[in-house]
Amino acid sequence: MNRIIFTSCNIAYLDRAMVMLDSVRRHDPEVDIGLVLVDRKNASADVGGALRAFDVVFFAEDLAIEDFDRWIFGHTVVEAATAVKGPMAVRLLRDYDKVVYLDPDICLYASLELAWDLLDGRAAVLTPHLLDPEGSLMGILDNELSALRHGIFNLGFLGMSKRNGGEAIATWWAARLLEFCRDDVSSGMFTDQKWMDLAPAIFDGVSIIRDPGYNVASWNINMRRTELAPDGCFRVNGRPLVFWHFTKAIDVGPSVTMKATHANAAVGAIWRDYLERLRRSRESLGADVAWSYGLFSDGTPIPAELKRAYRDSDHMRSAYPHPYRSREGLFAWRGWRDPSVPLGRV
């Protein structure tokens, strides 16, 4: 049975993807690794070496997304990088029996054996954000309410099988993402995640992995006691650690985790290692560039509000079929201030 793990990111997140890739090579060496890169092929950074480390690479523009320029102009980087997960999964299921998606900021510490085994007989596997009821007001506010807003399942991980109905789930999900992959919680959408809340109800064969060693992250670490066992293995609520989701690793991730774990030294040791791996990866890549689909053709940044307005307005899309070359017209459409023009000249 051929299997693949893939991730999706832009060049700026390749550093994380490389750390994820290394961890997969170590713990699931038999598995192919794929990447969908959500950046232009002629983006300024030289990342050819990094891309060659993957077994399968697609650029977002090669995923046969209709009217691609207009489509991606209407998405922020997070929306775009999550939206392409669907079409990429559909594409990979043509060639692979089992497909697992991992966020680039995930790091494996053991094989995904349980997930692979489940996909023998199930259509898809998901990991919930939370496995236990919160015991404090802060936990409810931070985690349970957040899960209600952003989705029951964390789609940093998703497994799908070619058989058992998995392709149907992937096809449905991909279709929804191409139309409605939006960071718009007030409208009931949060990129690709909220859609999967529907999957266990709509489809048969969706398994929920309730192993605490899967998808340990800042939003559940307060309920997942992590310790170092005498055999040198990390145990999470007594179960072996399989993978950790290092959300916001170079931002507030460490301090949020520290707060939630009361400075648990085992957690600290894991985080320190990840930050070190990430630092090395960043140094070797040296590719901290702006998202190429977030810039007009002349290099002017495109405000997220403008992207959303373009996505939501049929008129704008009709008037400007080549949005990346239409900076002046699009700014003028809503009377927004063009950031490329100095304030004094307005």
């Binding site: 170590r26 510490y109 053991a110 404090s136 007001l137 802060m138 936990g139 506010l141 170092l228 005498p230 055999d231 040198g232 293995c233 990390f234 650690l241 507030v252 460490p254 301090s255 520290m258 707060k259 009361h262 400075a263 030294a265 085992a266 600290g268 040791a269 894991i270 985080w271 320190r272 290692d273 990840y274 930050l275 070190e276 940044p301 405000p303 509000e305 927004w336 950031p339 304030l343």
Partner: protein, 589 residues
Amino acid sequence: VRRGSSSGCAPTEWFDPTEYLFRNPDVESDGLDAFFHYVLFGRSEGRSIGEGQAHLPTSAVITQVEEAEPTPARGDNSRHGLLESTVRHLFHEEYYRRRYGSDSDDSFSAYMNEPDLWMRKPNWWFDGEDYLSRYPDVAVASVNPLLHFVVAGRREGRKPRARGAADFLRALKQPNVQDLVNSWPVHCTEHVTSQSDVFDVLRLRMGPHERLLVSMGNDNYSAGTGGIQYVVSEEAAQCALAGWTHWYLYPAMPSPLATSRGSQVHSLIDGEPGPSFDIADLGGILMSLEGCSVSTHARVHGLLGWDPSEVSRQLARSKPVDFYVHDMVSVCPNYTLTLNEMLPCGAPPARSQACQVCSYGEARRKVAPAINEFLTNCKPLAVFPSAAARDEWLKTFPDYGHHVTRTLGHIEWTGSRISDTARPRIAYVGMPSQLKGFGLFCELADWNLQEDRYELVWLGRDTHEIPGVLTVEVDQVGSERSLMTSTLAGLGIHAVLISPIGFETFSFVAHEALASGALILTHRMTGNVAALAGQSGAGVVAATPDALIEILRSPTFPRYLTRQGSVRPTGRFMFSGLLPVTEVGSFTQ
């Protein structure tokens, strides 16, 4: 927020985006919203947002809280007063002044209203810097953190201070040890003596002696105060008395890892500078000496800074070879056996998850074959300074049978001392290292500033001022080695806190503490420290560092310490014989 931001609205009454951009013109070019910029970067960069608007005065915050919450039954003013009195009660004036000095007539008002002071600790249990770093939303709100905690934080389940928070975040940023070592320049000394010249110098300096102890360590023992340096110093002294020449070798480029960083070694002959030479010549020099009927005995006191393969090659034809297991560097280059220097690991299998995430894991996997080569080729007699060291080491080398357990010394009890201080005295001895448990001592000191249960003393060479702690400079370099013991006894120390994160194979500090009449306060994961405390019956061994702190905070513990530690036997540390013993059979195998 987004809508307001794009239209240039002011998000609060105290922040004006236009004013901020005017004062910080470079922000405009970042393309980030002014308020977001201030929250994310500007505040920590100390950027101006306009005169008198930087932070809401305390009274305004309280008013806002009052407006936001139902008015209490006792009337509008009572809540304000209650709140202020609560916060004032939590502000420990004496603690604050002792910690930060008296820079204002009204410390409480200054602390409450001057944002520059909010990172401070108003009492031992509340850490403003820690609170604001853990709760960015509070930092954004520009509210005094203690006030926030009182008004809202405590009801929201927020912690006033995360235990070990500063250490945790600091540890995350520690550089990788291998990178650190690689970044050190490798120096070559100008004068490298040839093999034949080294031989000549040795023969000359040996005089009539025909016995040579070749002793190998990590650094110049005569300049250091560590345990191994102490042992080598005593070893040299015993050699001098017994007619042995003591030739001590150490790498010209010391390293915290058991990997070579250059081939040059420095040497001391009977404590005086000797020739520097290339390690590759050592085997030849030893062979030449043996050819002249010089009886040589090699002893490795540690492999830090050495390439074990090279040591193995040079000593392969020398018999006998002692290998003193003073540290666990032969088990792991991180000789303290701590995972990323954050928690004890017990040296699990090198392919375990623990070693995969440890910054020493790669070095361990690389150096392990060389260590095995050293043990196989040289078949050294492994000498363990304690049973605890032996048991730990044999977990990794269970089949290595050529070993002996020989303690480095014992305490000869000679008298007693009486401590009549009103409060029990607890000391920390040595350098301010987190690995040695200095963080725990500082935590105790912080708590004690308010509770005032103990008199705390820090004795060592590189002390600095800590609020509420008496510091006593004790420099043992060039001094009588009993200086620490006599100082501890002279101060009437009831107990010494020895709470390292890493594994201790012997611990001179623990022996000095016991010899001075002090009890040992430690936890179970400290190797021979816990063993000594248990065996001597003169100590408290808690399950964990956390449990130890809880014991120290117990209201009854000061009385226990005073009772146990007021009249105590005292003695002096007596070294065991460190001269080479060729008859292995005389040891207990």
